[in-house]
């Protein structure tokens, strides 16, 4: 069988976010097994391992699952991703850090085993800027944008990009770090209240999101001018703030809601059959969908690998080839019962990050739903590409890697 480890976190500070993702990830594979009889006829097996968002446990999980023939890792934490990049590269197992992890890993010449399609944090930063550019008719000069970020590697990711973009578009950027866990953000929000930035971006995670949105509502910051990264845009983040969160925006890697044919299948083959990974109440939530989407991409890559290598029983190396040749189109998504679920993209050796398409979703507090308010749009690859080159080159130099495409 084909082994897909899932380094999940159903405990610890981010459990509330880890659970729906892990459920979605697992349910999709169950669906594929039940409905299609596996991938190319071979059943998929999800090996779940609890990391608690803790790096050391992540290492233990990696070591204990890799021997089982793991095809691709979805580390689900920036820290663990950094951790696994050299290890997995040495072991020849691909990593898919979808929308997180090391951004410059998009450079497949330096990071042959790491993929971060369809979009990464730097794309995200650019999406957010693009969105406010759209709102302002393409001119941001003289505008003020504040970034509220989790004071960690993850939260610091967009800073470089935003700095470049602020130089390019002439907006003023102010940085407001929030320390883990982020329960107290009075200072940051009072500062926002004083300085009245036109827009606030947020790179938050866990309780920090809820508190930020709550505080923004408290100071009556206009919610439609508040844009979070895709990790700051789940139901968990907005519901505690109640009506105050109405109009809050977040970036999206994929579509929202459960209005897709695939969910009928999930209901039929997975939930009704009593095989759902979770309690079933998370289906259709943003993070469940994200888990589902990640699993879908993994399955598609596996199919691709089977196709390339002509064998159903693929190895991690073949899986890598499949990922590198992955193509997601309107049609392929529709065929899976997920029309327009995610952006269309292709992966190549030079570009493991895809084109970096993203959309914006907005919260409707009355209806308790997220919905996309834009199409999947491009990001400023001119700026980002250069940054990726620079950062990956530094990594290559430090680690004596000769960038190349096989």
């Amino acid at each position: 069988d084909l082994v897909f480890p899932s380094l999940s976190y159903r405990t610890g500070p981010y459990a509330a976010n880890g659970i729906p993702f892990a459920d979605g990830y697992a349910d999709y594979f169950t669906l594929v097994n039940e409905r299609d009889g596996g991938i190319g006829g071979v059943p998929a097996r999800v090996l779940e391992c609890e990391t608690g968002y803790n790096t050391e446990k992540g290492v233990e999980c990696y070591e204990s699952t890799k021997g089982e023939g793991a095809l691709v890792y979805q580390p689900l934490s920036t820290g663990i991703t950094y951790q696994l990049i050299p290890k997995a590269s040495a072991d020849g197992i691909p990593i898919h850090s979808m929308g997180y992890g090391r951004t410059s890993a998009a450079n497949g010449k330096v990071f042959p085993w790491v993929f971060n399609y369809p979009a990464n944090y730097w794309n995200g930063a650019s999406h957010a800027v693009n969105h406010v550019l759209d709102l302002n008719g393409g001119d941001l000069s003289g505008k003020k944008i504040a970034l509220v970020y989790h004071n960690s590697a993850y939260g610091k990711e967009p800073i470089r990009t935003l700095e470049e973009l602020s130089a390019k578009h002439g907006f003023e950027l102010s940085l407001l770090p929030v320390d883990h866990p982020g329960q107290e953000q009075k200072s940051q929000w009072l500062q926002i209240r004083r300085e009245k930035p036109d827009y606030v971006f947020m790179w938050g995670w866990g309780v920090m999101n809820q508190v930020a949105i709550q505080e923004a509502a408290n100071i009556r910051f206009p919610m439609e001018n508040f844009v979070g990264i895709w990790w700051s845009g789940s139901e968990n983040d907005v519901i505690p703030a109640g009506d105050g969160a109405n109009g809050y925006k977040a970036l999206a890697l994929h579509n929202t809601g459960s209005d897709f044919p695939v969910f009928d299948d999930i209901q039929k083959y997975v939930v009704d059959a009593g095989k759902a990974a979770g309690a079933g109440d998370q289906i259709g939530t943003v993070l469940y969908n994200r888990g589902l989407y990640a699993a879908m991409l993994a399955v598609e890559a596996a199919k691709k690998a089977q196709e390339i290598h002509g064998t159903a029983d693929i190895t991690p190396a073949m899986m890598r080839d499949g990922m590198e040749a992955l193509e997601i189109s309107e049609e392929s998504q529709a065929a899976l019962g997920m029309p327009n679920f995610g952006p269309t993209f292709t992966v190549s050796c030079e570009n493991h990050g895809g084109p970096g398409l993203g959309a914006v979703q907005q919260w409707d507090a009355a209806a308790q739903t997220w919905s996309l308010i834009t199409d999947f749009g491009p990001s400023d690859m001119e700026v980002i590409g250069a940054l990726i080159e620079e950062d990956s080159a530094a990594y290559a130099a430090e680690n004596g890697i000769e960038p190349a495409c096989s």
Partner: protein, 328 residues
């Protein structure tokens, strides 16, 4: 008033409010420390557990639903009722008292007369236990806590101050509520510990377990009382913080915000918790306001500790703590 001064005033006011919230957590530590010399690491987890239980009762959640469903293959989640806020607070209080009794029975009883660090460690074990247990019981999703506390900017203050200074101060109504609750708590607890026989017994126990036993103070009773009160304080803190940020794992980490308060106010002083809280709240907010931007921000966590440290160097027992007796 010049603008900067207005801003600073607003920061100070909010610092005071934040300080009150820290103090609420610190209070739980102080109670238990004062009464038994135990540094209760589990205080944060207790707050979390109390808040989770409150929400669970209020929304009619089935405890251990996940476990039951996994074992029996059932699909139960909710009882389908909704308990009024006040009743569920009372019920939760009952649960916390039960918890206090259990802690005494299972744990503290066996650790009479041990060194403080051992007792500290035991509460760490307790914290681990409760962390797993609480999650197993109520699930680790984020829960919204709603007992009808007001929230959001206080319009009255905003508009009045706007009329006066041309700049409306931001004060959160939740903070105002917390302040009122905290003041009532602190006053009643101070009176209790200073002027009642039980209060005196509490302090005796903290000094010397064996001697307390020898004069007939029942450690077991005292501990149950104290842990029940601490459970109540944890519940109050859990409600306030839970209303602010939802009920979920990170709630237990608020303990870290309470430690510098504790240090500064003194481990054994109830009023110290409040004063310490206010100083820390104002200090860290002001520092972040004035110096933070120059050094890149996010200074609050460490600055609170450094501030407390500076105070300690001059008063090693904290502002109001009992003097450390050094004699030979």
């Amino acid at each position: 008033m010049p603008e900067q001064l207005l801003f600073a005033t607003e920061v100070i006011l909010n610092g005071l409010m934040a300080g009150v919230l820290y103090a609420l957590v610190a209070l739980g530590f102080v109670l238990i420390f004062k009464a038994s010399g135990v540094f209760n690491y589990a205080q944060g987890v207790m707050a979390l557990f109390a808040a989770m239980t409150l929400v669970g009762i209020q929304t009619g959640q089935v405890p251990f639903a996940h476990l039951i469903n996994t074992i029996l293959g059932t699909e139960i989640h909710h009882f389908g009722w909704h308990v009024p806020a006040l009743l569920s607070i009372l019920l939760t209080l009952g649960v916390m008292i039960l918890f206090a009794i259990l802690v005494e029975r299972v744990l503290l009883k066996h650790l009479v007369n041990q060194e403080p660090i051992i007792l500290f460690m035991a509460t760490i074990g307790l914290a681990y236990f409760m962390e797993g247990f609480g999650d197993l019981m109520w699930g680790s999703d984020i829960k919204k806590l709603d007992v009808g506390l007001p929230q959001g900017i206080s319009e009255t203050i905003d508009t009045t101050t706007y009329e006066w200074f041309g700049y409306g101060f931001f004060i959160d109504r939740l903070d105002i509520a917390a302040t009122i609750v905290a003041v009532i708590l602190v006053i009643s607890l101070t009176l209790f510990s200073q002027y009642t026989k039980t209060g005196r017994a509490l302090r005796a126990v903290a000094d010397d377990h064996q001697a307390a036993l020898s004069v007939g103070i029942s450690l077991r009773r005292i501990w149950v009382i104290v842990w029940s009160i601490a459970g109540f304080v944890a519940l109050v803190a859990g409600i306030m913080w839970g209303a602010k940020s939802g009920v979920q794992f990170s709630l237990s980490l608020i303990a870290l915000k309470a430690l510098p308060v504790l240090m500064l106010g003194g481990f054994t002083s109830i009023p110290g918790a409040i004063v310490g809280g206010l100083i820390i709240g104002v200090g860290e907010k002001l520092f972040e306001f004035a110096i933070g931007p120059m050094v890149g921000g996010a200074t609050e966590n460490w600055f609170a500790y450094v501030l407390a440290l500076i105070f300690l160097v001059f008063r090693p027992q904290g502002l109001f703590g009992e003097k450390i007796i050094e004699r030979v």
